[in-house]
């Protein structure tokens, strides 16, 4: 299968975004990757192998669920949810990671590294490494290690070494830098499993390629189920991989509105957010090897970002999405932390779905817009992941006293031990 979203310009550019701004030491490695990826794409057996793996190890095709209660509550468009949360390891991250795993095996490498923010990509990579028998190191900002300790625990059980990154803002972007540093030293043995549709070419194209399985399935499912294409599709946007994955199959259907939802954090006016494309706070820059919109100051130094969802808390955004914003094909919105927690609570209560805090951004925006659409319309929310992993954050957001008591008792039980 060829990539649904290949660069429209040389050197991995989508419009004026993308490229590969690499330290020379890594250039050869990227060329090797580009070649391996091109060969895989050209081999019809590769996509089949990928689909088989995802069918037998994860649960693809993931279902499309009709959110009957929310639809009724809002009295507007019929709301469907694409269930990436049902993937093995709990998020769409598995798609990308398993695909890259197959590629790594083709390339004959024996070690993988990855960065992780929410921890989902780290768990997915560590899982893939366990399955494929690769050695594995995961870089994770110290702040995120703390926010997402359960994921760290599982990564370690999966055999990965988790390295807390203590530099900079100690979040995702710093973990990415650190992964590049590792790669620059170990590229012969090692593949860097970048977790989203960002980074230097060919990562945005490659990650989108693997994630496009979401959109392919959805298109088939939604037509079968409703006899029509959706009026709008909502996806949260961290790096942009789940959004591109689900949007990819609908780019040529101009009647389908594609809506990317970024982290509004404490609200756009506070500037404490991670909205690169939905706010006026970002500007074009080059960092971490690619050109896109970044949240940066007038000197070009990256700003601290903020979101209740670790997986959206990132300075940059996929160059492909930056381009799709500039061309007007994708509309970008943002949802605040408070709106997101409310949307999560609603999805849980009314549909029995537990979206990840990241995915709850897409729910939040869809809930805002659904009432205004006619009942004939179909809208789809991409539920990129499940929210179990977020229990510490969500319990805090709800201020659940029973949970706090439980943690206190647990802590006390550890004190009593020798």
């Amino acid at each position: 299968m060829t990539s649904p979203l290949s660069p429209d310009q040389p050197r991995g550019y989508y419009g004026k975004f993308g490229g590969a701004y690499l330290p020379e030491i890594l250039v050869a490695t990227f060329r090797e990757l580009e070649t391996a990826f091109a060969a895989a794409q050209a081999d019809p057996a590769f996509w089949r192998e990928y689909e088989t793996l995802m069918g037998e190890y994860s649960c693809r095709p993931t279902p499309l669920t009709f959110a009957e209660n929310l639809t009724r509550d809002f009295g507007g468009a019929r709301i469907f949810v694409k269930r990436e949360d049902l993937n093995h390891t709990g998020a769409h991250k598995a798609n990308n990671v398993m695909g890259q795993g197959l590629l790594v095996r083709r390339m004959g490498k024996k070690r993988v590294i990855a960065e992780t923010g929410a921890g989902q990509h780290g768990v997915a990579t560590a899982t893939m490494a366990a399955k494929f028998g690769f050695e594995c190191t995961i870089y994770m900002g110290e702040v995120d290690v703390e926010r997402q300790r359960p994921n760290v625990f599982w990564m370690e059980r999966l055999g990965a070494r988790v390295v807390p990154v203590k530099d900079g803002s100690r979040t995702l972007k710093d973990a990415i830098n650190e992964a590049f540093r590792d790669w620059a030293a170990n590229m012969d043995s090692t593949h860097y499993v970048l977790g989203t549709a960002c980074g230097p070419h060919p990562f945005p194209t490659m990650v989108t390629y693997f994630q496009s399985i979401i959109g392919q399935e959805l298109r088939k499912q939604v037509v079968e189920r409703t006899g029509r294409l959706p009026r709008r599709i909502y996806a949260c946007v961290g790096g942009g991989s789940n959004a591109l994955g689900v949007f990819s199959a609908f780019l040529d259907d101009t009647a389908v509105e594609l809506v990317g939802v970024e982290a509004g954090g404490r609200g756009l006016p506070t500037h404490r957010h991670a909205a690169r494309l939905a706010s006026q706070d970002a500007s074009i820059g080059v960092a971490q090897g690619y050109r896109t919109y970044f949240l940066q100051n007038s000197d070009g130094q990256m700003l601290e970002t903020h979101s209740v969802a670790a997986g959206l808390d990132y300075i940059g955004v996929s160059p492909i999405l930056a381009h799709l914003r500039d061309t007007g094909r994708v509309r970008f919105e943002s949802a605040t932390d408070a709106e997101v927690v409310a949307a999560l609570a609603l999805a849980v209560r009314r549909e029995g779905l537990i979206p990840a805090l990241e995915s709850a951004h897409a729910f939040a925006q869809a809930c805002k817009e659904a009432p205004g659409l006619p009942p004939d319309d179909v809208i789809v929310i991409n539920q990129s992941g499940r929210g179990d992993k977020d229990i510490f954050t969500v319990a805090d957001a709800f201020g659940d006293p029973a949970w706090e008591d439980f943690i206190r008792r647990k802590a006390a039980s550890y004190e009593r031990k020798p």
Partner: protein
């Protein structure tokens, strides 16, 4: 031949190996940076690269990374860094290079940034995340301003690409000694010869070698192999451990 290259060749005619050192501007403070430059020049270094700190220095290792972040936290800005450059280039006669990441140039406007480097008296620039393919805006601006774009060779760069890079290079070429980022030690061995031979074939420009050069033994090893030994993280580590006052003696001891 660029002015920088001419000056390097002149210096080389007197020394069998030149020394280039590195600082992060504003680390640990602007005042200290000035002292360090003075001490290095007094100790006889031939060139200096001065890094304008960036929040995401992906090609740098832990030592320089930390210095970048501390300098920024202490209030280093592009404006102040260029003022600092102006000060030292006026004060000292050796060539100074600007080292930074492409985003700082891009954000300010590449041509404008280059003009400001020129106004600050800098001789050239090292932008480690800007390969020649992406340098379409940068190269003409540098040429117009008479500044040398320093490009990088690495052991993993194939011959053809060495030549391609060389075509854009001016002043000298910076050969990184090994895989990885700055700051880790390099075990210099005979393998280096084959790599440097490839570099020599690709360009007639002077060659600098850096990454992991940290003491007199390393510098001595490079004598006759390259034109310039680059000592980067080693001096930063020295400053962290033993203070600015130790710099002069250290640099003097290198050659």
């Amino acid at each position: 031949m660029s002015t920088l290259e001419t000056r390097i060749r002149q210096a080389r005619s007197k020394q069998d190996i030149l020394l280039m050192t590195h600082i992060v501007i504003g680390y640990p403070s602007f005042a200290a940076s000035l002292e360090i430059v003075d001490a290095m020049v007094a100790a006889g270094v031939d060139l200096m690269e001065m890094q304008i700190p960036f929040s995401e220095p992906m090609a740098d290792g832990p030592v320089i990374l930390a210095a970048n972040q501390k300098a920024l936290a202490a209030g280093s800005t592009v404006e102040r860094c260029l003022e600092f450059a102006t000060t030292v280039t006026r004060k000292h006669s050796i060539p100074f290079l600007c080292m930074s990441y492409y985003n700082l140039l891009l954000r300010a406007g590449v041509a404008g940034f280059v003009d400001r480097m020129q106004a600050a008296g800098l001789a050239g620039a090292i932008v480690p995340d800007l390969p020649p393919e992406e340098a379409g805006e940068y190269l003409p601006a540098m040429a117009r301003a008479g500044l040398d774009p320093i490009f990088i060779f690495s052991p993993s760069t194939p011959d053809e690409r060495l030549r391609h890079i060389a075509a854009s290079a001016r002043g000298f070429v910076y050969c990184v000694a090994r895989k990885g980022v700055t700051g880790l030690h390099t075990t210099f061995s005979a393998e280096l010869d084959a790599y440097l031979a490839r570099c020599r074939t690709a360009t007639k420009l002077p060659l600098a070698l850096g990454f992991g050069v940290q003491d007199a033994a390393d510098v001595n090893f490079l004598r006759g192999k390259v034109d310039i030994a680059v000592v980067g993280s080693a001096t930063l580590r020295l400053i962290d451990d033993r203070g600015v006052a130790a710099v002069g003696a250290f640099v003097r001891g290198l050659r």
